[in-house]
């Protein structure tokens, strides 16, 4: 095995007296891929966090294996992280990786086949497989190297295992830190910061664990210094305000804390669960309850019951769980008990793509309930917005005595991005509940006839005794089946959305306020869409975009904004039929979910370009979508 080190050394003899060539770039995208369990994700997380902490813009995305227990060295098992760092803030995961570290050639091949690598990508690959005892493995290595020989990648073989063996008996558990060392040298990361993060990572383990990992880090750093002839410099522009680095689910949890949420009712479901894990950690210290219910139905019921009894509560789930909560959400709408539902969307239908991103719960969030169940639906577009949206959701839910569903997705959930550190504002928290006696004559639904708003009574409040009911009811909460009462109840519950809508500002258009195509997006696609629009505009195309945060009620002014463009089309991560496919006609074509909604609301002939790849959209792909939607071309 010792020969492999010399192979790499000979091939890439680097330590020239002049030192490595440093390339300065405004941004760079790194991927670290391994079999699952080899720690590439940890390595990537720390690399992303260090980069952000040093002041680079950063966006990290987890690369999740297609299978839960994939065999070792299988393309399906490719697991890891993509980290895109830049001098400026980074808003999405980009198109292709510029540098890839692969723990074996099979996971490398997987990324290559997915077209994830830039044509000039630099590849650092573990080379123990080239000389492995197992003949099959050696053959597989050769096959992949042949496959890659037609590319213009620069492949650097690295004796990771052999190097790690000098420090640990279990290199499988240590390679990731060695790789972190390589990357730290290549990208000129502040090693002391990296060491700090490693210590923090292993703070609950024996001190020797952190020290071994740090030794591996240092080894990787040193090996890179001695053997590599290139370094990459992504200049740092220190942000002017303190920044904080979190993933979207952590951000949701922090938002829940900031909003004064005291109870989180949930049932474990990927990719939503970690919100409750982060919250649980915080609640160990600060009063608050994470209640793991027997299923998502019960979780909704517990949240509604808590809210009814005066605690600020929410429930968090993903698509299949949202489906189960349907009837309870309808009840909350009907009885006007405030409820916040966080839905971290994944691929559907059914169990679908459990770990992967999709934006396909929009219409379910809006319309899953039988009967008319008006509710507010919000979609944060960035990780930072995840924080503020929870606060907004809580405030709206209480102000309108209603249900607010916040739609995030797997991309935001696991993506990590720095954003300005929020300073807690007392107004974000709910006012303490008022249990003072109810004035005689005030009704349980004292609807303002214009606004539909009313004050609710909370059990424990003297004089407010009444029975809430999911049956149609009047102001006294008495069951009322007569036409007037039912019409009135429906109108009052619906009116609240109109009132809210009128308090909103029209969305901002990114790009010129007029042109040939307006791309409309919602949720996590914002960064990628805007990057694609920038590219399109650089090519001279008259394209702008607008990202919607309020899906129900829709933000005002859309019709006017749309009127200034020759065409409007949505970009979404959900399924729509494509014209040109067998049997698909303009008449029977099923549209993307936002497109469907916008067509209904604006009577504008909104087109759509949607994909369901199980991963975030890439700016390059969106640019193609923009070109297909541009008027005058076949779409």
């Amino acid at each position: 095995m010792s020969s492999s080190a010399s192979v790499a050394t000979k091939k890439r003899k680097a330590s020239t007296p002049t030192g490595p060539v440093v390339t300065t770039v405004p941004e760079h995208t790194v991927e670290i891929v391994s079999d699952s369990g080899e720690g590439a994700q940890k390595c990537g997380q720390i690399f992303g966090a260090v980069s952000a902490r040093m002041g680079n813009g950063a966006w990290t995305v987890e690369l999740i294996p297609a299978e839960i227990q994939p065999p070792a060295r299988s393309p399906a098992g490719a697991s890891g992280n993509r980290i895109r760092i830049g001098t400026k803030p980074v808003t999405n995961w980009g198109d292709a990786a510029n540098l890839v570290v692969a723990f074996n050639e099979q996971v490398l091949a997987a990324r290559h086949r997915l077209d994830a690598l830039h044509e000039d990508a630099i590849i650092l690959v573990e080379n123990m497989w080239a000389t492995h005892d197992d003949e099959d493995i050696r053959r597989e290595w050769v096959e992949v190297m042949e496959e890659l020989s037609t590319t213009s990648y620069r492949i650097v073989e690295v004796p990771m295992e052999e190097q790690c063996l000098t420090i640990t008996d279990n290199p499988r558990r240590g390679k990731n830190m060695f790789v972190l060392g390589l990357l730290s040298w290549i990208y000129e990361r502040d090693v002391e910061t990296v060491r700090d993060l490693i210590r923090l990572q292993f703070r609950k383990k024996a001190a020797v664990v952190a020290e071994t990992n740090i030794a591996l880090l240092d080894l990787g750093y040193q090996w890179a210094q001695e053997h590599l002839d290139f370094r990459i410099n992504v200049p740092i522009e220190k942000p002017s305000t303190p920044m904080i680095v979190m993933n979207g689910n952590q951000t949701l949890a922090m938002g829940a804390i900031a909003a004064g949420m005291e109870l989180c009712a949930m049932y474990p479901i990927t990719p939503a669960t970690s919100v409750s894990h982060y919250l649980g950690e915080i609640f160990e210290e600060f009063g608050g309850i994470v209640h793991q219910a027997e299923d998502e139905i019960a979780a909704a019921g517990v949240a509604i019951g808590s809210s009814y009894a005066g605690k600020v509560a929410f429930t968090v789930t993903s698509g299949p769980g949202l489906a189960l909560k349907t009837e309870f959400i309808g009840l909350a709408v009907m009885v006007e008990v405030p409820l916040v539902v966080l839905d971290v969307q994944r691929g559907g239908p059914s169990t679908g793509l459990p770990t992967k991103v999709e934006q396909s719960d929009l219409l379910a969030a809006l319309y899953a309930q039988p009967g008319d169940a008006p509710k507010v639906v919000l979609a944060p577009a960035t990780i930072e917005e995840c924080f503020h949206m929870v606060v907004t959701a809580r405030r709206i839910a209480e102000a309108i005595r209603g249900v607010v569903i916040v739609l995030t997705d797997a991309n935001l959930a696991t993506g990590v991005q720095p954003f300005p550190r929020p300073n807690l504002d007392a107004r974000w928290q709910a006012a303490p509940i008022d249990l003072s006696p109810v004035t005689e004559g005030v009704k349980p639904y004292d609807w303002d006839p214009e606004l539909g708003l009313s004050r609710r009574f909370i059990p424990g409040q003297p004089g407010g005794m009444h029975t809430l009911t999911g049956l149609s009811h009047d102001e006294l909460s008495k069951v009322a089946y007569d036409p007037e009462s039912h019409e009135r109840g429906c109108a009052m519950r619906s009116r609240k959305l109109a009132v809210l809508q009128q308090s909103l500002k029209p969305p901002e258009v990114y790009g010129d306020p007029e042109g040939d195509l307006l791309v409309v997006g919602w949720g996590s696609t914002k960064g990628a869409i805007e990057e694609a629009v920038d590219k399109a505009r650089a090519e001279g195309l008259r394209v702008s975009t607008v990202q919607l945060r309020f899906l129900s009620p829709l933000e005002p002014g859309l019709k006017e904004i749309f009127a200034r463009f020759r065409k409007v089309g949505t970009v979404e991560i959900n399924y729509s039929d494509r014209l040109g496919d067998p049997y698909i006609t303009v008449e029977n074509r099923r549209m993307g979910q936002l497109a469907f909604l916008l067509r209904a609301h604006t009577l504008v002939d909104v087109d759509c370009w949607t994909r369901v790849p199980g991963q975030p959209l890439r700016p390059k792909g969106i640019l193609e979508g923009i070109k297909t939607m541009l008027p005058g071309r076949p779409s």
Binding site: M243, G287, I304, A309, G460
Partner: protein
């Protein structure tokens, strides 16, 4: 704490102004009366009392009491009630459910509420039928029960609510009959007194769809011979002459009804009721007339820590309202880039 003298409320004060919409003769009326009288006797505060129900005839109950109430959705009252108790353990919560509501669509929630031992009272109105939806068989209907959905007779094995509750870890299981008012009131008081989930099954006659379902032990004349009224620490005697008793058949763990003085049976053979004896409770709850009398009263009572108390005990010492988010955003897994 200052205590103010609250006005004594009567059973009538616990009635509401809503028109009661059960069929004339329905057992639900008697249960309503018993609950209202019990609430008055207990001197509970109306604003601190919440009746949470699912859907069914029984579940209309909250409309007819003057406390707080929540008529929720079919089968899910236990989940909602759990949330109420987690939010405010001081509230006195009653869950009202039917055999379909609580054991079919809501069986799972019932199971988890019981095993968690949420401190509330559950009254399950068992009429062995779906009343509200017009007479289909329910999970407690007996085999052979003919209904619109089982025209040739049910082939399902019925569930025994008490056995179910004991099986999933309920710490308080009691049973009574709709029209046995004083007995029912006693059971309800005990349920209220018990800290934890108190499960009370009430045999309730549905005059329209399952009239006489419990006649085998409620019919005048035979009732006294077919009902065993359990009392903690007292021998299990029944019958008009109180000369019949329950014993373990020698050499087995099978209960049998015996007559004092016959075949050498004496008082020393008769079992003495011990509410904490879980194994005995399982035998008692399974007794079926006519071979054995139906066991009524508090079958099992063995208090344990309640869910909401334990949840509150785990709470971090700082209330969320006082939490320093700014400090939180500067530690642990969150990094700050100095600006």
């Amino acid at each position: 704490m200052t205590t103010t003298q609250l006005p004594q409320l009567s059973a009538k004060d616990f009635g509401s102004d809503q028109e009661v919409r059960w069929c004339p003769g329905c057992g639900d009326y008697a249960i309503l009366k018993a609950v209202q009288r019990t609430l008055a006797d207990l001197g509970v505060r109306r604003e601190n009392t919440v009746f949470v129900s699912g859907i069914g005839c029984a579940s209309r109950f909250p409309y007819y009491v003057s406390t707080y109430g929540f008529h929720t959705i079919h089968g899910r009252a236990p989940a909602l009630a759990t949330g109420v108790k987690l939010a405010n353990p001081e509230l006195d919560v009653w869950v009202i459910t039917g055999d379909g509501d609580g054991l079919s669509i809501g069986g799972n929630h019932m199971l988890h509420m019981l095993r968690r031992n949420v401190d509330l009272q559950i009254i399950l109105f068992n009429n062995e039928v779906y009343g509200l939806t017009k007479g289909q068989y329910s999970p407690t209907s007996r085999r052979g029960f003919r209904s619109p959905s089982t025209p040739m007779g049910s082939i399902d094995n019925p569930i025994a609510p008490g056995a179910f509750a004991l099986g999933v870890g309920a710490r308080f299981v009691a049973r009574s009959i709709d029209t046995l008012t004083p007995h029912l009131m006693g059971v309800l008081s005990r349920a209220h007194e018990h800290k934890g989930a108190s499960f009370v099954e009430v045999f309730q006659n549905c005059v329209v769809f399952n009239d006489g379902a419990f006649a085998a032990f409620t019919e005048k004349g035979i009732a006294v011979e077919q009902q065993l009224h359990l009392e903690h620490g007292k021998p299990m005697l029944f019958g008009k002459e109180r000369n019949r008793g329950i014993r373990l058949r020698p050499g087995s763990i099978v209960l049998e009804a015996v007559t004092l003085g016959e075949n050498g049976v004496g008082m020393e053979d008769i079992l003495v009721h011990d509410e904490r004896d879980h194994a005995m409770a399982q035998l008692l709850v399974a007794m079926q007339p006519p071979q054995l009398p139906i066991a009524l009263g508090v079958i099992h009572c063995d208090p344990a820590p309640t869910y909401e108390r334990e949840a509150l005990a785990q709470l971090g010492s700082t209330p969320v309202a006082e939490l320093d988010l700014n400090a939180l955003l500067r530690k642990g897994r969150t990094w700050t880039v100095p600006g």
